[in-house]
Point group: C2
Chain length 312, copies 2
């Protein structure tokens, strides 16, 4: 079944229904998803992609929401991809966050999509990046990729984004943890949200102290901004810092380099998928299942079965 060219055209023209359908195609690994991504690839590369990560309750969604409103006031089209690693234990809090984004949801210039990463083998980065490509090709100027920082997800976001913002709050002592856990390497800058709370100044100082020991490379020095996203305080400074970081990447030729790395990764992933599908034909599947009895009875090992399969 060839792709419907009218559907692709509507998507590229920014039709919300077509965009939603395109993203569902990549999310569900629809057989035509690759053909779709291939056909829109020449239209990509215009949007700037900002990753926003941090602990649960840091106010990432509120910040994302306010940033989207600011970009809208500058007549930019905004795509928001909220990736939820579906922790069974924080699901409620995340849903709470979602609700707070409703005041940009009705804006025709903002496209919001929540994605669950649970169970997807390639991790969230692949699907989120493909969704970002669709939003990019469909005319979004800025794409905000938001995810809670647990496990692997914040690294995936950093790999997918041009600029990565790590959002923290004063009270939780997260700032020191973040430093220890190597968030230094992914944060292009930090936002201390809820800065009207006690301890904000000390938390900012402690991050700055640690930052002082390291330079980020390529001459960029990550700073710490303070916001009260709920009241809209400090949002403009965040947008300005994103712009500043973008300019720094561009002047150093790093924006192209980062994109090249992402594209090479994607080619590697696509090759792996294809090799897998090609390898597991009916006769090899049959050989595997007929060998399982011997493996289970310890007459052979999984490693010998692998050799046998590769020899066919």
């Amino acid at each position: 079944m060839p792709l419907d060219p009218q559907f692709v055209e509507r998507m590229l023209a920014g039709d919300r229904v077509a965009i939603a359908r395109g993203i569902s195609m990549v999310e569900n690994e629809h057989p035509d998803a690759v053909a779709l991504l291939r056909s829109i690839y020449p239209k990509t590369g215009k949007a700037y992609c900002v990753g926003i990560t941090g602990p649960p309750g840091a106010g990432k969604s509120t910040l994302t929401n306010k940033l989207a409103k600011l970009y809208r006031s500058q007549k930019k089209k905004v795509g928001i991809i909220a990736v939820d690693p579906t922790s069974p234990f924080t699901g409620g809090a995340l849903l709470g966050d979602r609700v707070r984004m409703t005041d940009v949801e009705l804006d025709e210039g903002v496209f919001i999509r929540s994605m669950a990463s649970r169970g997807s083998l390639g991790g969230l980065s692949k699907t989120a990046r493909e969704a970002a490509d669709i939003l990019d090709a469909s005319g979004c100027n800025v794409i905000l990729l938001e995810t809670v920082g647990v496990g692997q997800s914040e690294l995936d976001i950093a790999r997918a984004a041009d600029t990565t913002v790590v959002v923290l709050v004063p009270e939780s002592g997260d700032s020191i943890q973040a430093m220890k856990a190597g968030l230094m390497e992914i944060a292009d800058f930090f936002v201390m949200n809820k800065s009207d709370r006690a301890g904000a100044e000390q938390a900012v100082m402690s991050i700055k102290t640690v930052l002082g020991f390291k330079l980020h490379g390529e001459g960029w020095m990550p700073d710490v901004l303070q916001t009260v996203a709920q009241d809209g305080k400090g949002i403009e400074a965040v947008a300005e810092m994103i712009e500043k970081h973008r300019a720094s990447l561009e002047s150093a030729g790093m924006l192209v380099k980062r994109r090249a790395v992402r594209l090479e990764e994607r080619i590697h992933e696509l090759i792996s998928e294809r090799l897998h599908v090609t390898f597991w034909n009916a006769s090899r599947e049959k050989l595997l299942s007929s060998s399982m009895e011997q493996v289970l009875s310890f007459k052979t090992t999984p490693y010998d079965v692998v050799e046998k399969l590769l020899a066919t």
Copy 2:
């Protein structure tokens, strides 16, 4: 370099230094790791593997610790693999958990290993399963696989374990979240830890109510036990329930089936790794890097480069 047979022998005899070295080999993807796993495979299949998962702060490590002590009193050798998905934001709490395990750490019959899953592409399941194989072949009778349930990790644990225990606490409302998020499917039974706290009875009742609507398949009905792990209360009942579940799996022929599924998954993973390594020879790497300029300038697409690479 062939494997040192004396090292393998020491490992199989339960030498702690050799076991630690073996696990490090699989963790670091040492070139000899596959040869090691292949040579010990015939000695595996004797240990029973229990997965213990739940939200941060539920007392998983304390429960694991107390279970290990109980098994030691039954003269069983115990392996503990504590998998830490390295959240930058909960790192501290997890380290706190680790400390509480010190009272079995000095016991020669208990082998404890912490593993970080951060950054490992195959996820924690592969390395944890390989480490479990080493502990199994080295004479452990019971292996306790402990991980905090965030994102993917609790699913990985369920895939690696024979019996999966989901640990909850009364106050957090996690029980309902757990139900919603499909933990039903991975929990062979639930433990309501810290059951001396307010709300324990209601929390247990709410889980039981939801459980009442579903049967677990194969005739097993997951129950909810109550513990105060810190005081050692209810630990024996947990061990008995594990034994009961094991007997149920065995009588239904499910234990062999679950192990067959795991071994097939491992064979799939090993094949994918080998296909990847074989494919990316120097000439294909060169073709990829020479195509990147055209991809970046939109003269071709990543998808066309994939076709070109596969055609060589």
